[in-house]
């Protein structure tokens, strides 16, 4: 397994070998070659508005802390003490004047530089140098802040963030532009949902539009049967507006289209998404036009992408103020974090709709999430079968995908093109790392 050249053999034009989902050794390699090389989403800087605010998370298996320094700059530091390697910051988030390791009390500035070593004379004539980076909380090699969205890579040898994001940057910009003040703000703590599956199953599913009308049929029919029992002229509840699009037809999704981009990214829709039909929220258009004028507002709101995937770690939508973060734990454990944000300057009603949406779709107790969970789990249960070695991804191979301006190739919405794109890139990463992915 550990032979990297083997890796490319696991991906063919129209299928991938089941071991990419099942083999612990491959997961270990992914931690180094994908999660250790790619730009990975860390957090949004609105989580740490004030100097000394910090937020702890992991990039792959490396504990890191995102912190706001005195100069207002956002640093992403390795959350590892330069002395004997203890994790320094234990809390999920907080505010501090500086970092202090609780084991032997080494202390660090907010930029990770070591400033305090108790009883220091014990290090005289040992070659110890307080300035030596090995003793600091070192900075993660590459960090970029795009409209407040902080990405980082454990590797210094990465493409520029612009090159990496490519056309997905338009999703990020659109998400922020939809705020009359042009900024978003994270609200509350996230949903943290444990999935007993390989992280790639979740990522594939994001642009899998062959599944909603099947795997999520029950909640739609339950909602319909409920409405059928209501008296004439019952007002159509927002919940229905959120649930029903998951039952949209194949034609609808095919028309929406799916676009595959460099580095494994992709998105569905463009002009239209399953959220296009949402009713307007009073005061929002006014606020937008006041900020942007009619033209620009129309332009902003005309972009409608459903589930933009920034491979491998991150997904967001234009029209819903929620983002999901992929946290691979082991070959068959993945935690999905869902974060929610406010469009600064927009009516609070926008936030409330997003919260309702996410509770109905992303919560571990929703009537949607557990059905996705179950499908991933069933793949694990089925792939252990000795009866087959490969997972098919040929759908759409028959049509020529047309190039899209802004880059990438567009195919009909239910094509497997985004899966094939992900694994083409996966194989490159596994062989060589990000630089030539």
């Amino acid at each position: 397994m550990a032979d990297l050249n083997e890796m490319t053999k696991l991906v063919e034009e129209n299928r991938v070998h089941k071991s990419v989902y099942l083999e612990p050794e491959i997961f270990d390699l992914e931690m180094d070659h994908i999660w250790g090389k790619a730009w990975v989403f860390v957090g949004h800087d609105s989580q740490i508005p004030k100097t000394g605010d910090f937020y702890t998370t992991e990039i792959g298996r490396s504990p890191v802390v995102m912190v706001r320094a005195k100069d207002g700059e956002v640093h992403v530091l390795h959350n590892r003490c330069g002395h004997k390697g203890a994790k320094v910051a234990g809390k999920k988030c907080g505010n501090t004047a500086g970092f202090r390791c609780p084991y032997h009390g080494w202390s660090y500035k907010l930029d990770g530089s070591l400033i305090g070593v108790p009883n220091r004379k014990g290090y005289s004539d040992t070659g110890f140098d307080i300035k030596d980076p090995q003793f600091s909380m070192t900075k993660v090699a590459s960090v970029a802040n795009v409209r407040g969205f902080v990405f980082a890579s454990l590797s210094a040898d990465v493409p520029s963030i612009e090159d990496f994001l490519g056309d997905t940057i338009r999703t990020i910009n659109n998400v922020a532009d939809r705020a009359p003040e042009g900024e978003i703000e994270i609200v509350g703590s996230p949903l943290r949902y444990e999935h007993d599956c390989n992280w790639k199953m979740f990522v594939e599913n994001l642009n899998d539009s062959m599944h909603p009308m099947v795997a999520h049929a029950s909640v739609g029919s339950a909602a319909k049967s409920y409405l059928a029992d209501q008296p004439e002229g019952t007002v159509y509840p927002r919940e229905a507006e959120i649930i029903f699009p998951f039952g949209s037809s194949y034609e609808f999704f095919d028309k929406m289209g799916v676009t595959a981009l460099k580095y494994g990214h992709s998105y569905m829709g463009g002009q239209a998404s399953i959220h296009t039909g949402y009713s307007d929220i009073p005061g929002y258009m006014e606020a937008m036009e006041a900020s942007y004028g009619t033209e620009r507002t129309k332009e902003i709101l005309s972009q409608n992408r459903h589930n933009t995937i920034i491979y491998p770690s991150f997904t967001l939508k234009d029209a819903i103020q929620a983002m999901r973060v992929v946290r691979p734990i082991s070959v068959d454990k993945t935690i999905i974090e869902t974060w929610h944000f406010r469009l600064k300057g927009a009516p609070e009603e926008m936030l409330k709709r997003t919260i309702t949406y996410s509770r109905l779709i992303n919560s571990n107790a929703s009537m949607v999430g557990p059905d996705d969970w179950d499908c991933y789990r069933r793949m694990h249960e089925g792939l252990t079968s000795s009866s087959a070695e490969w997972v098919d991804m040929r759908r759409g191979l028959g049509e020529d995908a047309e190039p899209v301006d802004g880059g990438g190739e567009r195919s009909f919405g239910t094509s497997d093109i985004s899966f094939r794109n992900q694994y083409r890139v996966w194989a490159k990463y596994m062989k060589t790392g990000a630089e030539n992915a």
């Binding site: 029950s218 409920y226 107790a365």
Partner: protein
């Protein structure tokens, strides 16, 4: 506004049995009868963090009115739902039932209790523990739930599938 003295021992016994009845319906997966214990404007809330104050502007694990309860009732065990191909069986225990220190005011009584619940699903037992807070209004010789808050001890922790109310 209620205080310990204002709830008779008889009422406390009625209330305890009322809460046991609610737990029983959930253990049995009988959402139809379970819903009937809630007032028309009744709400079930399971926050996603301890001390969460607003269910509308912050995410919750569950926040459902009778509309959603009814949709969920129809979805439970639905033949088209992958997750519903397996039964969910539960055993909920309530303890330490007492009149809450903080009362909602109005004519509702807030009853606090502790719960431990075990749900069996997909060959695995999952444990849930925390605090219940029931706001009850008297109706005829029984009660209705106007608000139930379920604070898990790990509300902000990593969660697994939850297919029915706790």
């Amino acid at each position: 506004m209620h205080n310990a003295s204002s709830v008779s021992r008889e009422d406390m016994l009625l209330i305890e049995n009322f809460l046991y009845q609610e737990a029983q319906y959930l253990d049995d997966g009988d959402l139809e009868n379970w819903m009937s214990l809630y007032s028309e404007d009744g709400v079930y809330w399971m926050p996603a963090s301890p001390d969460q104050t607003c269910p509308l502007t912050e995410i919750s694990i569950l926040y459902e009115d009778k509309l959603l309860m009814d949709i969920r009732r129809r979805n439970l065990g639905h033949p088209l739902a992958p997750s519903m191909e397996y039964p969910v069986r539960g055993s909920r225990i309530l303890g330490n039932v007492h009149l809450a220190a903080d009362q909602p005011g109005g004519d509702a009584i807030r009853i606090a209790s502790k719960f431990h619940a075990q749900l069996y699903y997909r060959e695995e037992v999952t444990h849930f523990a925390g605090r219940y807070s029931h706001d009850l209004v008297r109706e005829e010789n029984s009660f209705k739930i106007v608000h139930k808050r379920v604070d898990l001890i790990n509300a902000d922790g990593v969660q697994r599938n939850l297919l029915i109310y706790i």
